[in-house]
Assembly symmetry: C2
Homo-oligomer: 306 residues x 2
């Protein structure tokens, strides 16, 4: 069990998008440049959504214009519709990430349209990006359960994955949008997904809403998944669970991987330093544990009484 | 993978022992009675340590005298030395739990003596409890790493387990005292331990200090472990990691187990209710996630805009 793990950093998109305090564009750029330097080969930088819907990310174009592009790193933008795709292309993103919930209720609440309407938009977006030097990924949101509808049948999830592939979309993300997944379910769905999407194009996106984020990563890894989204400091969250934690925490995941002998290509010390600076940017404590406790190998002085 | 999981609740011992605010004896008794009613077959109630060393648990005898003993539930006390064992017997505990760190430095800091001196004490305690209607368990503290010394060789851990068994001690706990374990290490050590201790007498005690608590449970369960310590609300902590979380959280573990189809015999709704009352007792927020987010099956109303 020593295959490397590819971690895509999503804090500046999935984390910052729900922060009530606006993170200044210059701070976003500084953080993304530091994440590039820490070794990420994939960073989800921002989202080309309506500035009214998500004011926290209204500076997506300026951020893409301001960051230093590290050779070999793929800078991704979330794109909700064809208009967003045009803005993303103008900002020279390397990859667009499209999102549609498998739950119709969630997609209407989150995207303001039916899943079928989302899929029609995806077809248009694929026309828009044709010939451009940009790769494509699409996310199945609520793939492990919907906070309104509950369980989502695996057959329905897989049908959506097949629709993505039929549109020519290269990468697929299975997202546990509100942290409802469990390790048994994860193992089953990852096994099914890997039958149609190769491991190097399948991403698992877990939230730690109910404390199972890293247990789900472990289960997915055992089932053959190798790509994971994570957010520095465990930023992110769920509007329906006040006080609940957000995305799985990047530095906690990296610490786990390294302790298990799994390479990530990431500089854990740098990540811990960046995570410790997050409260200054967002104005509150963040859920990540390793930034508080230190790495397992960071030893403590022996108490004097001993 | 449907073997039941046996969870021993340790919040009133491993949790309360480090709380700066004293939890009143009557509140402790009420909580333990509610935990009994929620279905626990094992509860680590308190500790017969020096009241000067751990004033938070100075009422151990009163608590044991006040609780309602549910038939079939084993009420355990931690006991550091022969004097504590005598007090535990007088309080009619069902089981004594002895603790010695595999790290000499940690045992001196934690127990004020060398591991050899601890083991001599254990031999005396086994004499003391001979003939009494009390079972015995012993914990290998820092079994997955010491915050002062670092890695602890598995051979050394196993040698300590063998010494416990040679003394006639029935149960063995492997404790990740400061949350340094990782899933690969857990799988290896559990596999070795199960070669000499049957699953029904081996307990794993994990802390969530670096966010890996439930991932380590998952790994231990896959390796054949079936008994786990956990603390309501994730109480507990590590004096060397300010802000770090404590024991793995009982209700988060129970939620994970039930979602995976693993029985625990516990009433999750009751546990969530008890956890939500903890901040009133201890005066601060607690780390558990399910008590904040609700169970995965607790659905939310659809937002009006949808």
């Amino acid at each position: 069990m020593t295959d490397a793990m590819l971690i895509q950093e999503v804090a500046t998109r999935d984390g910052f998008q729900i922060e009530p305090r606006y993170v200044e564009t210059a701070d976003k750029i500084r953080l993304i440049d530091a994440l590039s330097a820490a070794g990420f080969s994939r960073i989800e930088v921002s989202s080309f959504v309506s500035p009214k819907a998500v004011p926290a990310l209204r500076d997506a174009a300026e951020v893409f214009a301001g960051i230093a592009r590290r050779p070999g790193t793929v800078y991704v933008a979330l794109v909700p519709n064809p208009k967003g795709a045009e803005r993303a292309l103008a900002a020279r993103v390397d990859e667009v990430n499209l999102v549609c919930s498998v739950s119709e209720t969630h997609n209407r609440a989150n995207m303001g349209m039916s899943p079928d309407a989302s899929m029609e938009g995806f077809a248009q977006i694929m026309e828009t990006v044709k010939g451009a030097d940009v790769s494509t990924n699409a996310t199945v949101a609520t793939a492990f359960g919907c906070p309104f509808e509950g369980d989502q049948p695996a057959d329905k999830v897989m049908a959506q994955v097949e629709r993505y592939l039929a549109l020519g979309i290269t990468g697929v993300t299975l997202a546990d949008t509100t942290g409802m997944a469990n390790p048994v379910q994860v193992e089953r769905l990852v096994t099914r997904a890997l039958a149609v999407v190769p491991a190097e194009r399948l991403t698992l996106h877990f939230h730690n809403t109910r404390g199972l984020g890293l247990a789900n990563v472990l289960s997915a890894y055992h089932a053959g998944a190798r790509r994971f989204d994570a957010a520095l400091g465990g930023l992110g969250g769920c509007p329906f669970a006040p006080g609940a934690t957000g995305n799985i925490c990047t530095e906690d995941l990296v610490s786990m991987a390294h302790e298990m002998g799994i390479e990530t290509g990431l500089d854990l010390d740098s990540l811990i330093g960046l995570s410790r600076d997050l409260p200054r940017l967002v104005g509150h404590d963040v859920p990540g544990q390793v930034a508080k406790a230190g790495r397992p190998c960071d030893l403590h002085p022996v108490p004097k009484a001993a």
